[in-house]
């Protein structure tokens, strides 16, 4: 199965281990993620302003590229790209008059007709591949690894783009279960990671990360799993300071779900890109006999 | 499907004469074994090349029954059934032989309380196609045998250019809602198909061995698929010919307001047609009045009101029998109108007239959902 794929900036930079591990494990499942030939910024926040139509041109172009690849589904890995593209697409579908204007901004291109569907890789795994099939491909079950899924906000809010139940999501739990991991249910799995506050108000983000991580460790969690490069960045990089601030603080490594997939599928360790982690995951993985 | 072969002698395979004899023997047995007391069937008319409809009561009369005849002489059989059973159910068990379109229209008439199935044994007759009454008559007069012609066409699976348009595009060569079917499609020997428990009981009563027949199912499916393709193309063409008021007006140019199409229509069950009532403004006196007041007679509106009005009334239940076209003395190809329009209307309600007794017609169904009609349409 070939599926058009939108990477976004993070996945080409600090989160390239997310992409790498995703590509590798997707191919185990017979899924080829085909990167859009010439892609543009997802737009992050700007396209969500309803009247700033010019800022929605980039997403529209991404959808056109998708159609050129002969697909009508566009997969993203980054939660933020998913959220932005999906919302923008919905906006264009719901407002044909606005779509017409957006199209008029791009005179050298075909018109976008609103027929692309944006999905997150997790949805593809759940709804198209199926977790049962994943279970069959597991070579090294993540036995005894106590992981806490962490959703953040972008996969679940607002309601019209939620990939799962707003209050009781289970998609990551189900995925990790199929890999053989043990699930630790943290009440703070949907709590804000601090987002961009990490830049100008690091304290806020830091405090949130402390809460999120301690809620996990208190419940016996050994690792946190996420699907968002920004969440990953905050949760991973801010932990260093926490150890200084809070004596007795216990660090836990933070993984992308695709890294754990690659691990369970028995792929080369190098696709995991473990060297990028701030909180060293090697000890944990070694102790479980996974590497 | 299950059912029973009537002829197990391999020598008779596909023998046309034997087919007819087999059916008649089957009808005879129905009467002999007292499964029914009466049989309503097309019947050989010594005075006329066209068959007549007759109720037979004695087993020996069955010899001259002609249920497989490839023609509908005038009114559909369902109209007769309606007339017999509308007021009250019949007193004695009656078997009636119906072509698939007649069976379908009977289903619609039952839904509209214009017929009653109590005490009725409905027997569908496979129909590969039928001829216009005039063609049929001409054939007989010229010594050709219409039945043999139809059977040969069936054997070669080539269709027949002379079939009525409704038959060429017919998707119901086999009745779906009868107790029994006289099967000639997809079989070599005559096959009596049982659709209901009443049908199965009947076969058992006259001592027939019940068997599965999957081959026939497959053959029928293939035929319908093949016809479906053809129908799609033809209907598209028909609607093109009628597109817009100007073309529609041209189409009705020769109409003489005789209303034969309505008279013969199995769905037009009204005691008094609304378009012939005193409310209908285009009656004689009104024409005179219009002529005086406006200097023109409203012939055009009169015709359109009748035909479009009738279409609005019956298109939800039209079974595509095409008898309106056969009845038109002016040879207006009415099936081109009611066939495709009714198909569109019924499709839009996800309804197929005459298919299931328990399905209610769109106009009496209460759709408690927004049908989306007020949504703005793109211009």
């Amino acid at each position: 199965m070939r599926v058009p794929y939108f990477p976004g900036c993070s996945l080409k930079d600090f989160a390239d281990n997310f992409e790498k591990s995703a590509f590798a494990s997707a191919s185990v499942l017979g899924v080829e993620l085909v990167e859009l030939p010439e892609w543009y910024c997802c737009g992050v926040v700007a396209p969500l302003e309803e009247d700033e139509l010019i800022r929605k041109v980039a997403p529209a172009r991404n959808f056109l590229r998708t159609k050129e690849l002969g697909g009508n589904k566009l997969v993203t890995l980054c939660s933020m790209c998913y959220n932005t593209l999906k919302l923008t697409n919905l906006y264009m579908k719901k407002n044909p008059d606005k779509l017409e204007r957006i199209n008029s901004f791009m005179d050298e291109e075909e018109n976008y007709d609103g027929t692309v569907e944006v999905i997150h890789f997790l949805e593809l795994l759940r709804d198209i591949v199926g977790f049962e099939k994943m279970r069959e491909k597991v070579k090294k079950p993540l036995k005894g690894l106590k992981v806490a899924p962490y959703y953040g906000c972008l996969l679940l809010r607002p309601k019209e783009v939620a990939i799962d139940s707003l209050e009781k999501p289970t998609v990551m739990e189900d995925l990790l279960k199929s890999l053989g991991a043990e699930i630790v249910n943290s009440p703070l799995k949907k709590t804000c990671c601090g987002s961009y506050q990490v830049i100008n108000n690091k304290e806020v983000a830091s405090k949130l990360v402390y809460k999120i991580i301690t809620a996990v460790t208190k419940r016996g969690g050994e690792a946190v799993v996420t699907s968002c490069p920004l969440c990953h960045y905050n949760l991973d990089s801010l932990q260093k300071d926490l150890s200084d601030k809070y004596p007795g603080y216990k660090e836990v490594p933070v993984f992308y779900f695709t890294q754990l997939m690659a691990l369970a599928f028995g792929l080369e360790e190098e696709v995991l890109g473990l060297e990028k982690h701030e909180v060293n995951p090697l000890n944990l993985l070694k102790s479980k006999g996974l590497i | 499907m299950e059912g029973a072969f009537l002829e197990s002698n391999p020598e008779n395979k596909g023998n046309i004469k034997k087919i007819k004899e087999s059916v008649n023997r089957f009808l005879q047995q129905l009467l002999e074994k007292k499964v029914v007391e009466w049989v309503l069937t097309p019947y050989i008319n010594p005075e006329n090349p066209l068959p007549e409809r007759r109720i037979i009561t004695k087993p020996e009369e069955a010899i001259k029954a002609d249920p497989l005849t490839p023609v509908i002489p005038g009114f559909p059989m369902s109209t007769f059934v309606s007339e017999i059973t509308r007021e009250k159910p019949i007193s004695k068990p009656l078997a009636v032989l119906l072509k698939p379109c007649e069976a379908a229209s009977l289903v619609e008439l039952v839904k509209f309380r214009q017929a009653n199935l109590d005490n009725l044994l409905t027997i569908g007759v496979d129909c590969y196609g039928s001829y216009h009454v005039l063609d049929f008559k001409k054939m007989v007069e010229e010594g050709e045998k219409p039945f043999e012609r139809m059977i040969n066409a069936l054997k070669n699976n080539k269709g027949d250019e002379l079939f009525r348009t409704a038959c060429k595009t017919c998707l119901k060569p086999v009745a779906e809602n009868t107790d029994l079917n006289v099967g000639i499609i997809g079989v070599n020997n005559l096959f009596i198909q049982a659709n209901t428990s009443k049908g199965t009981e009947t076969l058992k009563k006259i001592g027939l061995k019940i068997v599965e027949n999957k081959e026939r199912d497959q053959k029928i499916k293939e035929l319908i698929e093949e016809r479906g393709e053809k129908r799609k193309g033809m209907f598209k063409e028909f609607l093109k010919e009628l597109h817009g008021l100007h073309k529609l007006n041209k189409f009705f140019e020769d109409c003489i307001n005789c209303h034969n199409c309505m008279e013969v229509c199995p769905i037009c069950f009204c005691k008094e047609c609304f378009f012939e009532s005193e409310l209908h403004p285009y009656v004689y006196e009104k024409y005179i009045k219009f002529t005086i007041e406006e200097g023109t007679i409203q012939e055009l509106e009169g015709k359109l009101q009748f035909h479009l009005g009738r279409l609005i009334h019956m298109s939800t239940s039209c079974v595509s029998c095409g008898l309106c076209e056969q009845a038109c003395p002016q040879e207006i190809k009415l099936f081109k109108l009611c066939g495709p329009v009714s198909e569109n209307v019924q499709k839009s309600f996800n309804y197929r007239a005459g298919e299931k007794l328990e399905e209610t017609p769109p106009i009496t169904t209460f759709y408690e959902e927004d049908l989306g009609l007020t949504e703005k349409q793109a211009e």
Binding site: L188, T191 | F112, R113, E272
Partner: protein, 651 residues
């Protein structure tokens, strides 16, 4: 046919735009019109007299008044004509004010043209109108009240005191409803025991009230003034004629079941009296839990103990038929099940409870005797968090509407809690505090002062257990800061929702519910007590959640509606009903399917449609479904429509 047309100027409202002379000139030419006259105000006394005089002088047999909307003066003009012997149904209104002069002020010529068309079409209609007399129907002067909460109680008492008989049907073993479960009521802090119980007793002793407790309405047929109602009287397995309410049976019953009355805060027995003040004060056996009834043998301790010998395991439910003229639906509300609110740990943590449960804990007559303790360990909670709008004002997840009463009862609960636990502290999360009632704002101010509760403007995001405490994560939107509270007890002001089974009951009654299940009123503003089915009224929170004050007023209003309907022995109805031409009807039954009121049946003898005019509401859906014009609506005949269309559609 001699039609008179009267054109009203309505001061300058009509004459200022329309060319009255042109109208008169054109209309006078129309066939059948013998007289046209204009006047400055047709609805005034001289205007009316003018019409009366002309009817007599010119011997008019039909009248068209070209004036304002028929919804304003149709009755006036019809009665006026009737006073000089012209049948009121031979008078029609042509609306040339709202429909011509007002909306086309800048286009006098076109507006005049339109007015002429409207008048001519109306003339055509009135020409074929037939004279009619109102239909008169005898009525049963009795009322059925469904639901024995405070609304049903109030409505029943009002009607019974006016001298009419009332059947009060309650599905639980006792009347009293939700109000009987409350601790004290805002803003006066009266206890329901003090104010509701006397009313309950009055119901029980009233000679005009037939109280059918533990019963349900299962079928309603008939129509306004003449309803036939089937009531299922469920088996109580106790002969209520013998039962003295001594409760000895409950003492010996070995089966304990979670108490519905205490919303699970306490337990009752399989044979029980709902609460000490229950009316009727009789025992009921719960057949799902009674050992004898479940296994068909054994136990029977209650029967052995009962001093009155009232226990009867063989009792069967009965269907009773009653005739009434009006029905009042007072089925009240329910609260949303807190276990639906997973993000708040509802149903998961014992100490996350609904406000109704907290009412029982606070109630002096409740299972804890008014001592505030938490369900999990019976300890006194020192920190209580109240979450308002739990499930309300939340269109993404639950109910979009405001549940109206929560602000006030939460404030009350915070106060009562403070009274019970002086060293405890209450936090209240709110979106807005709504205090829209007499004395409500003052009460809220008192709570702020006296209860020392911390009011936090914001929503709670998550409640979970950590280190033995309930951690409440929320936000204070006034400071913009996140809030984290370690609570001992969380009280959710869960959304009010329509009472269970209301949709099924609405079907039986042939009345409408809205998308949530609240009963639909005939008009939200002007007919809030009526349903679209005449003769059926709504009282209290069944229409929408409301507090006790409003409920009682609403119930008295519904009672007054029923009383005014039944004030005479006969009622009159519009005679604009369907009629069948038997010559043409082919009995296809399309009209039967089209009729919402089951007013049409096919006569099995003749195979022809037959109309029950008493049931017919005159909507005309039948005539639109009839292919042959065999069924038509009186004075909206197809002929009339055809003539009108013919005039209007021409250039």
């Amino acid at each position: 046919m001699r039609v008179g047309v009267f054109v009203c100027h309505c001061g300058r409202n009509i004459a200022g735009t329309l060319n009255i002379e042109k109208i008169k000139e054109e209309v006078a030419k129309h066939s059948g019109v013998v007289h046209v006259e204009d006047y400055i105000f047709m609805c005034s006394d001289p205007g009316q007299k003018l019409i009366r005089d002309r009817i007599k002088e010119k011997n008019l047999d039909a009248v068209v008044v070209s004036a304002c909307s028929p919804s304003l003066h149709e009755k006036t003009f019809r009665n006026n004509a009737a006073s000089v012997g012209l049948n009121p149904y031979k008078v029609e209104i042509a609306n040339i004010r709202e429909w011509a002069s007002w909306p086309h002020e800048g286009k006098p010529e076109e507006a005049t043209e339109k007015a002429i068309k409207i008048i001519k079409a109306t003339v055509e209609k009135v020409k074929s109108n037939i004279p009619l007399e109102p239909l008169s129907v005898p009525v049963t002067r009795k009322v059925l009240v469904i639901g024995g909460g405070i609304a049903g109680i109030q409505a029943s008492l009002d009607i019974a005191n006016a001298g009419l008989e009332v059947y009060l049907v309650e599905k639980k073993p006792s009347i009293g409803g939700k109000m009987a479960q409350f601790s004290e009521t805002f803003p006066t802090l009266d206890c329901p025991q003090c104010i509701e119980t006397p009313k309950m007793t009055e119901v029980a002793n009233h000679p005009n009230i037939h109280l059918y407790a533990y019963s349900e309405v299962v079928d309603v047929s008939g129509f306004v003034g003449n309803f036939k109602v089937k009531v299922k009287r469920k088996a109580t397995y106790v002969d209520w004629n013998k039962c003295t309410g001594c409760s000895e049976c409950a003492k010996v019953c070995p089966v304990k079941v979670s108490s519905e009355y205490d919303v699970g805060v306490s337990q009752r027995k399989a044979i029980y009296i709902m609460f000490p003040q229950a009316v009727p004060n009789k025992a009921t056996i719960d057949p799902e839990h009674c050992l004898r009834l479940v296994y068909g043998k054994g136990c029977g301790l209650c029967a052995k103990t009962c001093p009155a010998g009232a226990i009867n395991f063989e009792q069967k439910e009965k269907i009773e038929e009653i005739d009434v003229g009006a029905i009042i639906v007072a089925t009240g509300f329910d609260v949303m099940d807190p276990s639906l609110l997973t993000e708040y740990g509802g149903g998961k943590y014992k100490d996350v409870i609904s406000a109704l449960q907290f009412e029982r804990i606070l109630a002096p007559s409740g299972p804890t005797g008014g001592k505030v303790v938490r369900p999990s360990d019976g300890k006194e909670p020192k920190t209580v968090v109240f979450v308002q709008c739990a499930g309300s004002r939340d269109p993404e997840h639950y109910m979009p509407y405001c549940s109206k009463v929560c602000c006030m009862y939460t404030a009350k609960q915070a106060l009562l809690y403070k009274h019970a636990v002086p060293n405890g502290h209450a936090y209240v999360f709110y979106i807005d505090v709504r205090t829209d009632g007499k004395g409500y704002e003052e009460f809220y101010e008192r709570v702020l002062r006296e209860a020392e509760a911390t009011y936090l403007r914001g929503k709670v995001a998550e409640i979970y257990k950590e280190d033995g405490k309930l951690k409440v994560l929320g936000v204070d939107t006034l400071t913009g800061k996140g809030v984290e509270i370690n609570a001992d007890l969380v009280v959710l002001a869960t959304a009010a929702v329509p009472s269970e089974g209301i949709k099924e009951l609405a079907k039986v009654l042939r009345i409408q519910t809205d998308e949530y299940g609240w009963l639909k009123e005939a008009h939200l503003k002007l007919r809030p007590l009526e349903t679209a089915t005449s003769g059926i009224f709504i009282a209290g929170a069944a229409q929408f959640i409301r507090d006790i004050t409003d409920t009682v007023s609403h119930a008295s209003g519904a009672a007054a509606k029923a009383l005014s309907l039944l004030s005479r022995n006969r009622i009159e109805r519009e005679p604009l009903v369907a009629e069948v031409n038997e010559e043409i009807c082919s009995g296809c039954g399309n009209c039967v399917e089209a009729c919402t009121y089951q007013a049409i049946k096919i006569d099995p003898e003749t195979n022809i449609a037959k109309i029950n005019t008493a049931l017919c509401e005159g909507c005309g859906a039948c005539q639109a479904s009839c292919p042959s014009a065999a069924i038509q609506l009186t004075n909206s005949y197809k002929k009339q429509l055809f003539e009108m269309i013919s005039i209007l559609a021409k250039e």
